[in-house]
Symmetry: C2
Subunit: 108 residues, 2 copies
């Protein structure tokens, strides 16, 4: 699939939020997860910018722990604000995607 960049704007952060919400995890693993989900072009740099943004906005709790197979990892968990934001994201997604699907079906 060719360039999805623009279409991922505004949704990628929500996806990361959701992945963290499912279980405590770290940047490198999140990137792999997104790749295997089908977003093959998403690179580490992108995910780390999102993670730093989430941290700066106070949506996640961070814990640095050694990994054994490389440098230490920063593990992320959602806090209350993060869980709220995640719910808001899915509400928005539901809203937007349902309306676009309506347009597609020629819904006048």
């Amino acid at each position: 699939m060719d360039d999805l960049t623009e279409m991922l704007k505004g949704t990628l952060e929500g996806c990361v939020l959701d992945i963290i919400g499912a279980e405590e995890t770290y940047g490198y693993a999140i990137t792999r997860r997104l790749n295997e989900l089908g977003f093959t072009d998403v690179v580490e740099g992108t995910v780390y910018t999102i993670l730093l943004r989430l941290e700066r906005n106070g949506l996640v709790q961070v814990a640095k722990r050694p990994s054994g197979v490389g440098p230490p990892r920063k593990f992320y968990t959602l806090n209350d604000a993060g869980r709220e934001e995640r719910a808001r994201f899915w509400a928005k997604w539901e809203y937007v995607s349902s309306r676009i699907d309506k347009l597609r079906e020629g819904g006048r």
Copy 2:
């Protein structure tokens, strides 16, 4: 629904493309159509930027005609390149939205 700006990036242009593809129309009417579709915060300035971009990228054919109820209108129609782009948009949308829905259902 609160701010959808970021989530519309990359999809709004596709929506406009689709609306034009359905029938010959003009900026002001496209804005109204998007508003009634549920994208109530989309304003004329935004739509006109998209239309100028579509024109610059050679995806539409333009015809200026008097309106009778105000200043002349610029009517837009998709050309071959525009129809291709529209198809590409829906393919991308199908791809992205299906994968996000999968994430949402906890699809591991």
